[in-house]
């Protein structure tokens, strides 16, 4: 008798855990989808700003000075790249996680992973409360200045980033319009947003696949 009660209790407990896991998947899906759409709105605004700044730069420098004919076609590696890692969701499901590495930033794991996570959290929070950007810096640089590193190393890193930015701008000549620099910062911000969007997309797809699997199990 007691054995039967215990078995029923265990089954009820397992059922409850299964229900909680299903609810968690649904919540993850809805949360990811909502953040994805909000970030796409934010991306649209940032890109619009970037295109406007690019048009202003083209107006002041001349259309022939900013065109695809001037793109650097010599052998070179991307200064801004991605790190892709596997993120395990539970024991079975795996999904990719993307981390942005900007401007040949030193591949210091502690530095980059903490700042990338901090950056991602901040962008997700900003998805609901857009803020004005300070002129002359992208959101990434602002976070860098606020991150817990010594003043000396922050300055060194900032100088390196400015050098990489100048190298990228040099594609369009030595003297470029401030609007072109502003456009560069806007597109850097857009890039940061895109990486968060990519991770949200990955989370959304993962949760959706889990929910679909649960629905199929129920049908069977």
């Amino acid at each position: 008798m007691e054995g039967q009660d215990q078995t029923r209790g265990d089954e009820a407990q397992q059922e409850k855990q299964k229900q909680e896991a299903e609810d968690e998947n649904v919540l993850q899906f809805l949360d990811s989808a909502d953040t994805f759409l909000t970030l796409m709105d934010s991306l649209s605004s940032t890109l619009r700003q970037g295109w406007l700044e690019l048009a202003s730069a083209r107006h002041s420098m001349g259309a022939s000075r900013i065109s695809s004919a001037l793109f650097d076609l010599k052998l070179h590696s991307a200064a801004t790249s991605l790190q892709v890692t596997q993120h395990d969701v539970g024991s079975m499901v795996k999904r990719p996680h993307f981390t942005l590495h900007k401007w040949s930033f030193p591949d210091d794991e502690t530095c980059c992973s903490e700042e990338a996570k901090f950056n991602e959290d901040k962008l997700q929070k900003n998805a609901n409360s857009p803020q004005l950007r300070h002129r002359g810096t992208s959101q990434f640089s602002e976070l860098l200045e606020k991150s817990p590193t010594s003043d000396g190393s922050s300055l060194k890193i900032d100088n390196q980033i400015q050098k990489e930015r100048s190298k990228s701008l040099s594609m369009f000549g030595t003297l470029v319009s401030p609007k072109l620099r502003a456009a560069q910062l806007s597109f850097e911000t857009a890039l940061e947003t895109l990486i968060v969007i990519a991770n949200m997309r990955s989370s959304m797809i993962s949760a959706f696949d889990q929910i679909q699997k649960e629905m199929e199990d129920i049908k069977q």
């Binding site: 899906f29 759409l37 590696s77 790249s81 790190q83 456009a183 959304m204």
Partner: protein, 130 residues
């Protein structure tokens, strides 16, 4: 898409782009441009003269390359090769549809959102955001 297959870790993976000139220019300024030994770039500039075949070839090439982790594609360009984009189902590279100057982002056409929208009302995806 997210499943049991192992996702190989990559460092220094690239971001590919299939978009209009201004969008590509902007992202090149942000440092994502890459030119390899064979003088192949990680982007395709789409203009009025670009053929659908060229876009399809670029999409297939970028999604087959192991060193590309994300492919950015303007949504209006993705609409030209919608069948190809919708039938793509690998986790990496991730395909992100982005707005362009003349074509704002439409969630109803997004490849991933259109696949998941049946979980909630189709109307809420497209109209709730306007």
């Amino acid at each position: 898409m997210a499943g049991r297959a192992q996702i190989p870790s990559k460092n220094s993976a690239l971001i590919a782009m299939i978009a209009d000139e201004d969008t590509v220019t902007g992202f090149l300024l942000a440092g994502v441009g890459n030119v390899d030994l064979r003088r192949k770039t990680n982007y395709l500039v789409v203009d009025s003269k670009t053929t659908v075949k060229a876009i399809e070839d670029a999409f297939k090439e970028f999604t087959a390359k192991e060193d590309i982790a994300i492919v950015l594609i303007s949504q209006y360009v993705a609409n030209m090769i919608r069948f190809l984009v919708d039938s793509y189902n690998k986790p990496v590279p991730a395909i992100l549809e982005i707005p362009s100057k003349d074509h704002p982002y439409d969630p109803a056409h997004d490849s991933v959102l259109s696949r998941v929208k049946y979980l909630f009302s189709a109307e809420s995806v497209a109209s709730g955001r306007r």
